[in-house]
Protein backbone atom coordinates (compact mmCIF):
# COMPACT_ATOMS: atom_id res chain seq x y z
CA UNK A 1 0.00 0.00 0.00
CA UNK A 2 1.09 3.53 -0.65
CA UNK A 3 -0.11 6.66 1.05
CA UNK A 4 0.44 10.26 2.15
CA UNK A 5 0.44 11.88 5.59
CA UNK A 6 -1.41 15.13 6.32
CA UNK A 7 -0.80 17.05 9.55
CA UNK A 8 -2.34 20.35 10.65
CA UNK A 9 -2.28 22.79 13.55
CA UNK A 10 -4.61 25.78 13.71
CA UNK A 11 -1.93 28.08 15.16
CA UNK A 12 1.80 27.89 15.60
CA UNK A 13 1.30 27.91 19.35
CA UNK A 14 -0.61 24.61 19.44
CA UNK A 15 -0.10 22.58 22.62
CA UNK A 16 2.31 19.69 22.61
CA UNK A 17 -0.44 17.07 22.38
CA UNK A 18 -1.30 18.00 18.78
CA UNK A 19 1.93 19.55 17.48
CA UNK A 20 2.98 18.86 13.88
CA UNK A 21 5.91 16.67 14.96
CA UNK A 22 3.75 14.62 17.30
CA UNK A 23 1.10 14.09 14.61
CA UNK A 24 3.76 13.10 12.05
CA UNK A 25 5.33 10.63 14.50
CA UNK A 26 1.94 9.00 15.17
CA UNK A 27 1.14 8.79 11.44
CA UNK A 28 4.55 7.28 10.58
CA UNK A 29 4.16 4.59 13.27
CA UNK A 30 0.66 3.80 11.95
CA UNK A 31 1.97 3.53 8.36
CA UNK A 32 4.73 1.15 9.51
CA UNK A 33 2.19 -1.07 11.30
CA UNK A 34 -0.16 -1.12 8.28
CA UNK A 35 2.73 -1.48 5.78
CA UNK A 36 1.90 1.82 4.06
CA UNK A 37 4.75 3.33 2.06
CA UNK A 38 4.74 7.11 2.72
CA UNK A 39 5.12 8.98 -0.57
CA UNK A 40 4.67 12.51 0.77
CA UNK A 41 4.01 14.46 3.93
CA UNK A 42 1.89 17.63 3.87
CA UNK A 43 2.20 19.95 6.86
CA UNK A 44 -0.29 22.76 7.41
CA UNK A 45 0.65 25.43 9.94
CA UNK A 46 -1.70 28.02 11.35
CA UNK A 47 -4.77 27.07 9.29
CA UNK A 48 -8.28 26.40 10.49
CA UNK A 49 -10.18 23.30 9.39
CA UNK A 50 -13.49 25.15 9.42
CA UNK A 51 -13.29 25.29 5.64
CA UNK A 52 -11.41 23.30 3.05
CA UNK A 53 -9.60 26.45 1.88
CA UNK A 54 -6.15 25.40 3.10
CA UNK A 55 -3.11 25.55 0.81
CA UNK A 56 -1.37 22.30 1.92
CA UNK A 57 -4.65 20.41 2.11
CA UNK A 58 -5.46 21.41 -1.46
CA UNK A 59 -1.95 20.38 -2.52
CA UNK A 60 -2.49 16.98 -0.86
CA UNK A 61 -5.80 16.46 -2.77
CA UNK A 62 -4.05 17.51 -6.00
CA UNK A 63 -1.28 15.00 -5.25
CA UNK A 64 -3.92 12.28 -4.93
CA UNK A 65 -5.49 13.28 -8.24
CA UNK A 66 -2.16 13.24 -10.07
CA UNK A 67 -1.29 9.81 -8.59
CA UNK A 68 -4.71 8.27 -9.18
CA UNK A 69 -4.45 4.50 -9.01
CA UNK A 70 -0.98 4.63 -7.39
CA UNK A 71 -2.14 5.84 -3.96
CA UNK A 72 -4.27 3.98 -1.43
CA UNK A 73 -4.23 5.89 1.86
CA UNK A 74 -4.66 9.47 3.16
CA UNK A 75 -3.39 9.27 6.75
CA UNK A 76 -4.29 11.77 9.46
CA UNK A 77 -3.69 11.63 13.22
CA UNK A 78 -7.33 12.47 14.01
CA UNK A 79 -10.47 13.03 11.94
CA UNK A 80 -10.65 16.66 13.13
CA UNK A 81 -7.24 17.27 11.44
CA UNK A 82 -8.93 16.44 8.15
CA UNK A 83 -12.00 18.66 8.45
CA UNK A 84 -14.06 20.32 11.16
CA UNK A 85 -17.04 20.65 8.93
CA UNK A 86 -19.21 17.59 8.21
CA UNK A 87 -20.13 18.68 4.68
CA UNK A 88 -16.50 19.29 3.71
CA UNK A 89 -15.46 16.03 5.36
CA UNK A 90 -17.76 13.84 3.29
CA UNK A 91 -17.33 15.87 0.10
CA UNK A 92 -13.52 15.58 0.15
CA UNK A 93 -13.67 11.97 1.30
CA UNK A 94 -15.82 11.14 -1.76
CA UNK A 95 -13.32 12.86 -4.06
CA UNK A 96 -10.54 10.81 -2.49
CA UNK A 97 -12.55 7.61 -3.00
CA UNK A 98 -12.92 8.56 -6.69
CA UNK A 99 -9.12 8.72 -6.85
CA UNK A 100 -8.96 5.29 -5.15
CA UNK A 101 -7.71 6.74 -1.83
CA UNK A 102 -9.16 5.84 1.58
CA UNK A 103 -9.02 8.12 4.64
CA UNK A 104 -7.16 6.61 7.62
CA UNK A 105 -7.24 8.01 11.15
CA UNK A 106 -4.46 6.88 13.50
CA UNK A 107 -6.44 7.27 16.70
CA UNK A 108 -9.98 6.46 15.49
CA UNK A 109 -11.45 3.29 13.93
CA UNK A 110 -12.77 4.60 10.58
CA UNK A 111 -13.01 2.80 7.25
CA UNK A 112 -15.38 1.61 4.56
CA UNK A 113 -17.47 -1.07 6.37
CA UNK A 114 -20.83 0.06 7.88
CA UNK A 115 -19.67 0.15 11.53
CA UNK A 116 -16.51 2.13 10.62
CA UNK A 117 -18.56 4.48 8.44
CA UNK A 118 -20.94 5.10 11.34
CA UNK A 119 -18.05 5.89 13.69
CA UNK A 120 -16.56 8.20 11.06
CA UNK A 121 -19.88 10.07 10.70
CA UNK A 122 -20.11 10.52 14.47
CA UNK A 123 -16.49 11.70 14.67
CA UNK A 124 -16.92 14.19 11.79
CA UNK A 125 -20.07 15.56 13.47
CA UNK A 126 -18.27 15.72 16.79
CA UNK A 127 -15.42 17.74 15.22
CA UNK A 128 -17.90 20.25 13.83
CA UNK A 129 -19.73 20.39 17.16
CA UNK A 130 -16.45 20.96 18.99
CA UNK A 131 -15.62 23.79 16.63
CA UNK A 132 -19.06 25.36 16.97
CA UNK A 133 -18.78 25.25 20.77
CA UNK A 134 -15.38 26.93 20.66
CA UNK A 135 -16.71 29.59 18.33
CA UNK A 136 -19.66 30.19 20.63
CA UNK A 137 -17.36 30.50 23.65
CA UNK A 138 -15.17 32.95 21.79
CA UNK A 139 -18.21 35.02 20.71
CA UNK A 140 -19.63 35.00 24.24
CA UNK A 141 -16.29 36.25 25.54
CA UNK A 142 -16.28 39.10 23.06
CA UNK A 143 -19.90 40.04 23.84
CA UNK A 144 -19.02 40.05 27.54
CA UNK A 145 -16.14 42.44 26.86
CA UNK A 146 -18.39 44.70 24.79
CA UNK A 147 -20.98 44.77 27.58
CA UNK A 148 -18.21 45.78 29.97
CA UNK A 149 -17.41 48.71 27.64
CA UNK A 150 -14.16 47.24 26.32
CA UNK A 151 -13.56 46.90 22.59
CA UNK A 152 -12.35 43.29 22.09
CA UNK A 153 -10.60 43.97 18.76
CA UNK A 154 -7.83 46.24 17.59
CA UNK A 155 -9.12 49.82 18.08
CA UNK A 156 -9.35 52.31 15.18
CA UNK A 157 -6.59 54.83 14.45
CA UNK A 158 -6.31 57.38 17.23
CA UNK A 159 -6.19 54.79 20.03
CA UNK A 160 -3.46 52.43 21.26
CA UNK A 161 -4.39 48.80 21.70
CA UNK A 162 -4.39 47.53 25.28
CA UNK A 163 -2.73 44.06 25.38
CA UNK A 164 -2.94 43.56 21.65
CA UNK A 165 -1.72 40.11 20.51
CA UNK A 166 -0.40 39.15 23.92
CA UNK A 167 -1.22 35.47 24.28
CA UNK A 168 -3.24 34.55 27.31
CA UNK A 169 -3.79 38.18 28.30
CA UNK A 170 -7.20 39.34 27.32
CA UNK A 171 -8.11 43.02 27.33
CA UNK A 172 -9.16 44.04 30.80
CA UNK A 173 -9.03 47.80 30.34
CA UNK A 174 -10.18 50.22 27.63
CA UNK A 175 -7.90 51.28 24.79
CA UNK A 176 -6.03 54.47 25.73
CA UNK A 177 -5.87 57.41 23.28
CA UNK A 178 -2.80 57.74 21.08
CA UNK A 179 -1.54 61.19 22.13
CA UNK A 180 -0.15 62.10 18.70
CA UNK A 181 -2.99 60.94 16.43
CA UNK A 182 -6.01 61.40 18.73
CA UNK A 183 -6.15 65.24 18.49
CA UNK A 184 -5.80 65.16 14.69
CA UNK A 185 -8.65 62.71 14.14
CA UNK A 186 -10.74 64.61 16.70
CA UNK A 187 -10.15 67.89 14.89
CA UNK A 188 -11.08 66.32 11.54
CA UNK A 189 -14.30 64.85 12.95
CA UNK A 190 -15.30 68.17 14.50
CA UNK A 191 -14.47 70.14 11.37
CA UNK A 192 -16.24 67.80 8.93
CA UNK A 193 -19.85 68.93 9.58
CA UNK A 194 -18.80 72.61 9.67
CA UNK A 195 -16.71 72.65 6.52
CA UNK A 196 -18.93 70.21 4.60
CA UNK A 197 -15.86 69.12 2.71
CA UNK A 198 -15.42 65.97 0.66
CA UNK A 199 -13.52 62.91 1.87
CA UNK A 200 -10.65 63.77 -0.47
CA UNK A 201 -10.42 67.27 1.01
CA UNK A 202 -10.54 65.91 4.56
CA UNK A 203 -7.74 63.43 3.74
CA UNK A 204 -5.65 66.33 2.40
CA UNK A 205 -6.40 68.41 5.52
CA UNK A 206 -5.35 65.55 7.83
CA UNK A 207 -2.05 65.26 5.97
CA UNK A 208 -1.56 69.03 6.21
CA UNK A 209 -2.08 68.81 9.98
CA UNK A 210 0.67 66.17 10.19
CA UNK A 211 -1.03 62.76 10.05
CA UNK A 212 1.09 61.73 7.07
CA UNK A 213 4.34 62.31 8.97
CA UNK A 214 3.10 60.44 12.05
CA UNK A 215 1.73 57.40 10.22
CA UNK A 216 4.43 57.43 7.53
CA UNK A 217 1.94 57.17 4.68
CA UNK A 218 -0.46 59.34 2.78
CA UNK A 219 -4.02 59.54 4.12
CA UNK A 220 -6.44 58.06 1.62
CA UNK A 221 -10.14 58.85 1.08
CA UNK A 222 -10.80 55.21 2.04
CA UNK A 223 -9.20 55.88 5.43
CA UNK A 224 -11.50 58.90 5.87
CA UNK A 225 -14.46 56.77 4.79
CA UNK A 226 -13.73 54.25 7.57
CA UNK A 227 -13.21 57.09 10.02
CA UNK A 228 -16.59 58.65 9.20
CA UNK A 229 -18.42 55.34 8.80
CA UNK A 230 -17.31 52.07 10.35
CA UNK A 231 -15.39 53.60 13.30
CA UNK A 232 -17.59 56.64 13.94
CA UNK A 233 -19.54 55.08 16.81
CA UNK A 234 -16.33 54.07 18.55
CA UNK A 235 -15.05 57.64 18.23
CA UNK A 236 -18.32 58.84 19.83
CA UNK A 237 -17.72 56.52 22.80
CA UNK A 238 -20.12 53.76 21.72
CA UNK A 239 -19.48 50.07 21.15
CA UNK A 240 -21.73 48.12 18.82
CA UNK A 241 -22.42 44.42 19.25
CA UNK A 242 -22.02 43.15 15.66
CA UNK A 243 -24.19 40.08 16.30
CA UNK A 244 -27.22 41.85 17.75
CA UNK A 245 -26.65 45.46 16.69
CA UNK A 246 -27.05 46.66 20.29
CA UNK A 247 -25.05 49.72 21.39
CA UNK A 248 -23.17 50.01 24.70
CA UNK A 249 -21.32 52.95 26.24
CA UNK A 250 -17.59 52.26 25.94
CA UNK A 251 -15.10 52.86 28.74
CA UNK A 252 -12.61 54.52 26.38
CA UNK A 253 -12.26 58.32 26.10
CA UNK A 254 -14.55 59.55 23.34
CA UNK A 255 -13.34 61.93 20.64
CA UNK A 256 -16.68 63.49 19.80
CA UNK A 257 -20.10 63.79 21.39
CA UNK A 258 -23.03 61.70 20.21
CA UNK A 259 -24.68 64.88 18.82
CA UNK A 260 -21.61 65.46 16.68
CA UNK A 261 -21.77 61.84 15.55
CA UNK A 262 -25.41 62.25 14.48
CA UNK A 263 -24.52 65.44 12.62
CA UNK A 264 -21.78 63.61 10.69
CA UNK A 265 -24.20 60.79 9.91
CA UNK A 266 -26.77 63.29 8.61
CA UNK A 267 -24.20 65.01 6.41
CA UNK A 268 -23.07 61.68 5.01
CA UNK A 269 -26.63 60.49 4.44
CA UNK A 270 -27.21 63.57 2.30
CA UNK A 271 -29.92 64.99 4.55
CA UNK A 272 -27.68 67.99 5.05
CA UNK A 273 -25.70 69.11 2.01
CA UNK A 274 -22.28 67.59 2.45
CA UNK A 275 -19.93 69.62 0.29
CA UNK A 276 -20.85 73.22 -0.34
CA UNK A 277 -21.59 73.11 -4.03
CA UNK A 278 -21.13 76.45 -5.64
CA UNK A 279 -23.67 76.31 -8.43
CA UNK A 280 -22.57 79.65 -9.79
CA UNK A 281 -18.88 79.98 -10.43
CA UNK A 282 -17.84 83.64 -10.03
CA UNK A 283 -15.37 83.14 -12.89
CA UNK A 284 -18.21 82.26 -15.25
CA UNK A 285 -21.24 84.42 -14.39
CA UNK A 286 -22.96 83.62 -17.71
CA UNK A 287 -22.86 79.86 -17.21
CA UNK A 288 -26.46 78.54 -17.29
CA UNK A 289 -27.80 81.88 -18.58
CA UNK A 290 -26.36 81.82 -22.10
CA UNK A 291 -27.57 78.84 -24.10
CA UNK A 292 -26.04 77.10 -27.10
CA UNK A 293 -27.73 78.19 -30.34
CA UNK A 294 -27.33 74.70 -31.78
CA UNK A 295 -28.61 72.37 -29.05
CA UNK A 296 -30.38 74.84 -26.71
CA UNK A 297 -28.44 73.65 -23.69
CA UNK A 298 -26.78 76.10 -21.28
CA UNK A 299 -23.13 76.86 -21.90
CA UNK A 300 -20.57 75.95 -19.30
CA UNK A 301 -17.14 77.35 -18.57
CA UNK A 302 -13.65 75.99 -18.16
CA UNK A 303 -10.21 77.38 -17.52
CA UNK A 304 -7.50 75.29 -19.17
CA UNK A 305 -3.90 76.05 -18.28
CA UNK A 306 -1.74 77.28 -21.08
CA UNK A 307 1.41 79.17 -21.69
CA UNK A 308 1.53 81.75 -18.94
CA UNK A 309 -1.48 80.79 -16.86
CA UNK A 310 -5.18 80.00 -17.03
CA UNK A 311 -7.37 80.87 -20.01
CA UNK A 312 -11.10 81.22 -19.42
CA UNK A 313 -13.61 79.99 -22.00
CA UNK A 314 -17.31 79.32 -22.35
CA UNK A 315 -18.37 76.31 -24.40
CA UNK A 316 -21.17 73.82 -25.01
CA UNK A 317 -20.68 70.62 -23.05
CA UNK A 318 -23.08 68.49 -25.07
CA UNK A 319 -20.91 65.93 -26.88
CA UNK A 320 -23.55 65.40 -29.55
CA UNK A 321 -23.80 69.13 -30.37
CA UNK A 322 -22.12 70.43 -33.54
CA UNK A 323 -20.60 73.25 -31.46
CA UNK A 324 -19.03 70.89 -28.92
CA UNK A 325 -15.40 71.80 -28.33
CA UNK A 326 -15.75 75.21 -30.00
CA UNK A 327 -15.00 77.62 -27.21
CA UNK A 328 -15.75 81.33 -26.83
CA UNK A 329 -13.27 83.47 -24.86
CA UNK A 330 -14.83 84.69 -21.61
CA UNK A 331 -14.01 88.32 -22.34
CA UNK A 332 -15.66 88.25 -25.78
CA UNK A 333 -18.90 86.73 -24.55
CA UNK A 334 -19.17 88.91 -21.46
CA UNK A 335 -18.48 92.12 -23.39
CA UNK A 336 -21.17 91.23 -25.92
CA UNK A 337 -23.56 90.38 -23.09
CA UNK A 338 -22.84 93.74 -21.51
CA UNK A 339 -23.62 95.49 -24.81
CA UNK A 340 -26.85 93.51 -25.09
CA UNK A 341 -27.88 94.37 -21.54
CA UNK A 342 -27.41 98.06 -22.24
CA UNK A 343 -30.31 97.83 -24.66
CA UNK A 344 -32.66 96.50 -22.00
CA UNK A 345 -34.65 98.61 -19.54
CA UNK A 346 -37.77 97.99 -17.48
CA UNK A 347 -40.93 99.03 -19.33
CA UNK A 348 -41.59 102.67 -18.68
CA UNK A 349 -45.31 102.22 -18.13
CA UNK A 350 -44.47 100.06 -15.09
CA UNK A 351 -42.20 102.66 -13.52
CA UNK A 352 -44.67 103.64 -10.80
CA UNK A 353 -45.03 100.01 -9.70
CA UNK A 354 -41.27 99.73 -9.50
CA UNK A 355 -40.96 102.88 -7.38
CA UNK A 356 -43.76 101.76 -5.08
CA UNK A 357 -42.10 98.35 -4.68
CA UNK A 358 -38.78 100.00 -3.83
CA UNK A 359 -40.51 102.20 -1.25
CA UNK A 360 -42.24 99.21 0.28
CA UNK A 361 -39.09 97.17 0.48
CA UNK A 362 -37.02 99.98 1.95
CA UNK A 363 -39.68 100.69 4.56
CA UNK A 364 -39.84 97.03 5.46
CA UNK A 365 -36.07 96.84 5.83
CA UNK A 366 -36.14 100.22 7.58
CA UNK A 367 -37.92 98.63 10.52
CA UNK A 368 -34.83 96.51 11.03
CA UNK A 369 -32.66 99.61 10.99
CA UNK A 370 -34.91 101.13 13.68
CA UNK A 371 -34.30 98.20 15.99
CA UNK A 372 -30.59 98.30 15.13
CA UNK A 373 -30.45 102.00 15.97
CA UNK A 374 -32.09 101.32 19.34
CA UNK A 375 -29.50 98.62 20.02
CA UNK A 376 -26.63 100.97 19.14
CA UNK A 377 -28.08 103.69 21.40
CA UNK A 378 -28.19 101.28 24.32
CA UNK A 379 -24.64 100.14 23.65
CA UNK A 380 -23.48 103.74 23.41
CA UNK A 381 -24.99 104.57 26.80
CA UNK A 382 -23.21 101.58 28.31
CA UNK A 383 -19.88 102.59 26.81
CA UNK A 384 -20.26 106.19 28.01
CA UNK A 385 -20.85 104.88 31.54
CA UNK A 386 -17.78 102.65 31.21
CA UNK A 387 -15.69 105.64 30.09
CA UNK A 388 -16.88 107.60 33.13
CA UNK A 389 -15.92 104.74 35.42
CA UNK A 390 -12.42 104.59 33.90
CA UNK A 391 -11.93 108.28 34.75
CA UNK A 392 -13.18 107.70 38.29
CA UNK A 393 -10.78 104.79 38.74
CA UNK A 394 -7.89 106.98 37.60
CA UNK A 395 -8.94 109.63 40.17
CA UNK A 396 -9.05 107.17 43.05
CA UNK A 397 -5.69 105.71 41.98
CA UNK A 398 -6.89 102.26 40.83
CA UNK A 399 -5.26 102.85 37.43
CA UNK A 400 -1.79 104.22 36.87
CA UNK A 401 -1.21 106.65 34.01
CA UNK A 402 -0.36 103.99 31.41
CA UNK A 403 -3.24 101.71 32.33
CA UNK A 404 -5.66 104.63 32.28
CA UNK A 405 -4.44 105.74 28.85
CA UNK A 406 -4.80 102.22 27.47
CA UNK A 407 -8.33 101.68 28.86
CA UNK A 408 -9.44 105.13 27.78
CA UNK A 409 -8.28 104.63 24.19
CA UNK A 410 -9.88 101.21 24.09
CA UNK A 411 -13.31 102.46 25.16
CA UNK A 412 -13.11 105.60 23.02
CA UNK A 413 -12.42 103.50 19.93
CA UNK A 414 -15.45 101.40 20.71
CA UNK A 415 -17.58 104.52 21.19
CA UNK A 416 -16.44 105.88 17.82
CA UNK A 417 -17.34 102.63 16.04
CA UNK A 418 -20.81 102.49 17.64
CA UNK A 419 -21.45 106.16 16.78
CA UNK A 420 -20.67 105.53 13.11
CA UNK A 421 -22.95 102.48 13.02
CA UNK A 422 -25.70 104.46 14.75
CA UNK A 423 -25.50 107.34 12.30
CA UNK A 424 -25.47 104.91 9.36
CA UNK A 425 -28.59 103.13 10.57
CA UNK A 426 -30.33 106.48 11.09
CA UNK A 427 -29.47 107.60 7.55
CA UNK A 428 -30.63 104.24 6.13
CA UNK A 429 -33.81 104.58 8.15
CA UNK A 430 -34.85 107.92 6.78
CA UNK A 431 -33.19 108.24 3.39
CA UNK A 432 -36.20 107.12 1.35
CA UNK A 433 -35.76 109.69 -1.44
CA UNK A 434 -32.08 108.77 -1.73
CA UNK A 435 -32.96 105.09 -2.06
CA UNK A 436 -35.50 105.87 -4.81
CA UNK A 437 -32.85 107.78 -6.77
CA UNK A 438 -30.41 104.92 -6.26
CA UNK A 439 -32.92 102.34 -7.52
CA UNK A 440 -33.93 104.44 -10.53
CA UNK A 441 -30.31 104.95 -11.49
CA UNK A 442 -29.81 101.21 -11.22
CA UNK A 443 -32.47 100.33 -13.78
CA UNK A 444 -31.44 103.09 -16.19
CA UNK A 445 -28.28 101.21 -17.14
CA UNK A 446 -28.62 97.51 -16.54
CA UNK A 447 -25.41 96.70 -18.41
CA UNK A 448 -23.25 98.81 -16.13
CA UNK A 449 -25.07 97.53 -13.07
CA UNK A 450 -24.57 93.89 -14.09
CA UNK A 451 -20.87 94.59 -14.39
CA UNK A 452 -20.75 96.14 -10.90
CA UNK A 453 -22.94 93.53 -9.21
CA UNK A 454 -21.34 91.23 -6.64
CA UNK A 455 -20.90 87.73 -8.18
CA UNK A 456 -23.49 86.12 -5.90
CA UNK A 457 -26.22 88.52 -7.10
CA UNK A 458 -25.52 88.16 -10.82
CA UNK A 459 -27.30 84.80 -11.37
CA UNK A 460 -30.52 86.13 -9.76
CA UNK A 461 -30.33 89.26 -11.86
CA UNK A 462 -29.78 87.27 -15.08
CA UNK A 463 -32.62 84.89 -14.24
CA UNK A 464 -34.94 87.84 -13.76
CA UNK A 465 -34.14 89.38 -17.15
CA UNK A 466 -33.74 86.15 -19.17
CA UNK A 467 -35.96 83.57 -17.44
CA UNK A 468 -35.33 81.06 -20.23
CA UNK A 469 -31.73 82.01 -20.97
CA UNK A 470 -30.37 83.77 -24.03
CA UNK A 471 -29.06 81.98 -27.14
CA UNK A 472 -25.60 82.85 -28.45
CA UNK A 473 -24.18 82.22 -31.89
CA UNK A 474 -20.42 82.51 -32.45
CA UNK A 475 -20.98 84.41 -35.71
CA UNK A 476 -24.27 86.26 -35.25
CA UNK A 477 -23.90 87.00 -31.55
CA UNK A 478 -26.86 87.02 -29.17
CA UNK A 479 -30.17 85.91 -30.62
CA UNK A 480 -33.68 86.87 -29.61
CA UNK A 481 -34.35 85.92 -26.03
CA UNK A 482 -37.60 85.88 -24.12
CA UNK A 483 -37.36 88.74 -21.64
CA UNK A 484 -38.98 88.88 -18.22
CA UNK A 485 -42.42 90.52 -18.37
CA UNK A 486 -41.22 93.78 -16.85
CA UNK A 487 -38.39 94.36 -19.34
CA UNK A 488 -38.22 95.41 -22.93
CA UNK A 489 -35.52 95.82 -25.51
CA UNK A 490 -34.91 99.53 -25.73
CA UNK A 491 -34.89 100.11 -29.48
CA UNK A 492 -34.90 103.81 -28.76
CA UNK A 493 -31.42 103.43 -27.35
CA UNK A 494 -30.23 101.92 -30.62
CA UNK A 495 -31.80 104.72 -32.62
CA UNK A 496 -30.20 107.30 -30.37
CA UNK A 497 -26.84 105.70 -30.97
CA UNK A 498 -27.45 105.84 -34.69
CA UNK A 499 -28.56 109.49 -34.50
CA UNK A 500 -25.45 110.45 -32.56
CA UNK A 501 -23.26 108.74 -35.09
CA UNK A 502 -24.92 110.72 -37.88
CA UNK A 503 -24.35 113.99 -35.95
CA UNK A 504 -28.02 114.92 -36.05
CA UNK A 505 -29.72 116.63 -33.12
CA UNK A 506 -31.92 114.25 -31.07
CA UNK A 507 -35.51 114.52 -32.16
CA UNK A 508 -38.10 115.18 -29.46
CA UNK A 509 -39.09 112.08 -27.46
CA UNK A 510 -35.70 110.42 -27.87
CA UNK A 511 -34.15 111.78 -24.72
CA UNK A 512 -31.76 109.55 -22.75
CA UNK A 513 -33.31 106.68 -20.83
CA UNK A 514 -32.24 108.02 -17.43
CA UNK A 515 -34.24 111.23 -17.65
CA UNK A 516 -37.30 109.29 -18.74
CA UNK A 517 -36.85 106.90 -15.86
CA UNK A 518 -36.72 109.71 -13.39
CA UNK A 519 -40.11 111.03 -14.41
CA UNK A 520 -43.33 109.67 -12.93
CA UNK A 521 -44.68 110.09 -9.39
CA UNK A 522 -42.61 111.39 -6.51
CA UNK A 523 -42.26 109.32 -3.33
CA UNK A 524 -45.00 111.27 -1.55
CA UNK A 525 -47.39 110.94 -4.48
CA UNK A 526 -46.70 107.25 -4.69
CA UNK A 527 -47.36 106.74 -1.00
CA UNK A 528 -50.66 108.57 -1.30
CA UNK A 529 -51.63 106.51 -4.35
CA UNK A 530 -50.76 103.19 -2.79
CA UNK A 531 -52.49 103.85 0.53
CA UNK A 532 -55.71 105.22 -0.91
Amino acid sequence: MRGIIYTRVSSDEQVKGTSLEFQEELCRKYCEQKSIEVLAIFKEEGASAKTADRAEFLRAIEFCRKNKGKLDAFVVAKVDRFARNTEDHFYVRKILLDYGVTLHSVTEPIGNNPAEKFVETVLAGSSEFDNAIRKQRCTDGMIKRINQGIYPWKPPVGYKCANFKKRGEKKSEPDPPDDTIFPLIQRALKEYPKRRCTQVELARLLDEWGLKEIRGRKTTPQFVDRMLGKHLKFYAGLLENPWTGEETEGQHIEMITQEEMHMIQLVRAGRINSAKHDRYNPNFPLRRTVICVSCNRPLTGSAPRGNGGKYFYYHCHNKECSLFGKSIPKETLENKFLEYLEKITPKEKFLNVFKATVLDLWQEKGKRFESEAAKYEKRLEMLQAKRKRIFEMREDGSYDKEEFQERKEEVENEIAAVKISLSESRIEQFDIEGSLTYATNFISNLGRQWFDLPPQLRPRFQQLIFPEGIPYDRVKGFGTAKLGLIFNLNRQFLRRKFVKKSQVVDPAGLEPAISRMQTGCSAAELRALVHL
Binding site: T357, Q363, K365, P454, L464
Partner: protein
Amino acid sequence: MASENKFINMLSIEQTKKLLKDPNISDKEIEEIRDGFRMLAEIIFEKWQQEKQTKRVQKLYPQKEALCKKELSL
Protein backbone atom coordinates in the same frame (compact mmCIF):
# COMPACT_ATOMS: atom_id res chain seq x y z
CA MET B 1 -54.34 85.02 -3.21
CA ALA B 2 -51.96 82.91 -1.13
CA SER B 3 -48.99 84.06 -3.17
CA GLU B 4 -49.80 87.64 -2.18
CA ASN B 5 -48.46 86.92 1.30
CA LYS B 6 -45.12 85.68 -0.01
CA PHE B 7 -43.47 88.89 1.10
CA ILE B 8 -44.26 91.02 4.09
CA ASN B 9 -45.53 94.50 3.28
CA MET B 10 -45.95 93.64 -0.38
CA LEU B 11 -48.13 95.62 -2.77
CA SER B 12 -51.55 94.06 -3.24
CA ILE B 13 -52.97 93.25 -6.68
CA GLU B 14 -55.45 96.13 -6.27
CA GLN B 15 -52.73 98.63 -5.42
CA THR B 16 -50.63 97.45 -8.36
CA LYS B 17 -53.65 97.76 -10.67
CA LYS B 18 -54.13 101.38 -9.55
CA LEU B 19 -50.51 102.21 -10.26
CA LEU B 20 -50.56 100.56 -13.68
CA LYS B 21 -53.72 102.33 -14.84
CA ASP B 22 -54.15 99.68 -17.54
CA PRO B 23 -57.43 97.70 -17.49
CA ASN B 24 -56.19 95.29 -20.19
CA ILE B 25 -53.61 93.59 -17.96
CA SER B 26 -54.86 90.40 -16.33
CA ASP B 27 -54.52 89.67 -12.60
CA LYS B 28 -51.96 86.94 -13.32
CA GLU B 29 -49.81 89.37 -15.31
CA ILE B 30 -50.15 91.98 -12.59
CA GLU B 31 -48.93 89.48 -10.04
CA GLU B 32 -46.00 88.57 -12.28
CA ILE B 33 -45.08 92.23 -12.77
CA ARG B 34 -45.27 92.93 -9.05
CA ASP B 35 -43.15 89.86 -8.16
CA GLY B 36 -40.62 90.70 -10.86
CA PHE B 37 -40.16 94.23 -9.53
CA ARG B 38 -39.97 92.93 -5.98
CA MET B 39 -37.10 90.63 -6.98
CA LEU B 40 -35.37 93.46 -8.79
CA ALA B 41 -35.82 95.76 -5.79
CA GLU B 42 -34.33 93.12 -3.52
CA ILE B 43 -31.26 92.76 -5.73
CA ILE B 44 -30.85 96.55 -5.75
CA PHE B 45 -31.28 96.69 -1.97
CA GLU B 46 -28.65 94.01 -1.41
CA LYS B 47 -26.19 95.78 -3.70
CA TRP B 48 -26.88 99.09 -1.93
CA GLN B 49 -26.32 97.47 1.46
CA GLN B 50 -23.06 95.91 0.36
CA GLU B 51 -21.81 99.28 -0.90
CA LYS B 52 -22.78 100.85 2.44
CA GLN B 53 -20.98 98.08 4.29
CA THR B 54 -17.81 98.62 2.26
CA LYS B 55 -17.95 102.35 2.97
CA ARG B 56 -18.45 101.67 6.68
CA VAL B 57 -15.42 99.40 6.78
CA GLN B 58 -13.37 102.03 4.96
CA LYS B 59 -14.46 104.63 7.51
CA LEU B 60 -13.66 102.42 10.48
CA TYR B 61 -10.40 100.98 9.24
CA PRO B 62 -8.85 103.51 6.87
CA GLN B 63 -5.33 102.27 7.62
CA LYS B 64 -6.23 98.66 6.93
CA GLU B 65 -7.86 99.69 3.66
CA ALA B 66 -4.77 101.63 2.64
CA LEU B 67 -2.64 98.62 3.49
CA CYS B 68 -4.83 96.35 1.37
CA LYS B 69 -4.60 98.73 -1.55
CA LYS B 70 -0.85 98.90 -1.14
CA GLU B 71 -0.60 95.10 -1.09
CA LEU B 72 -2.77 94.90 -4.20
CA SER B 73 -0.65 97.41 -6.07
CA LEU B 74 2.47 95.46 -5.13
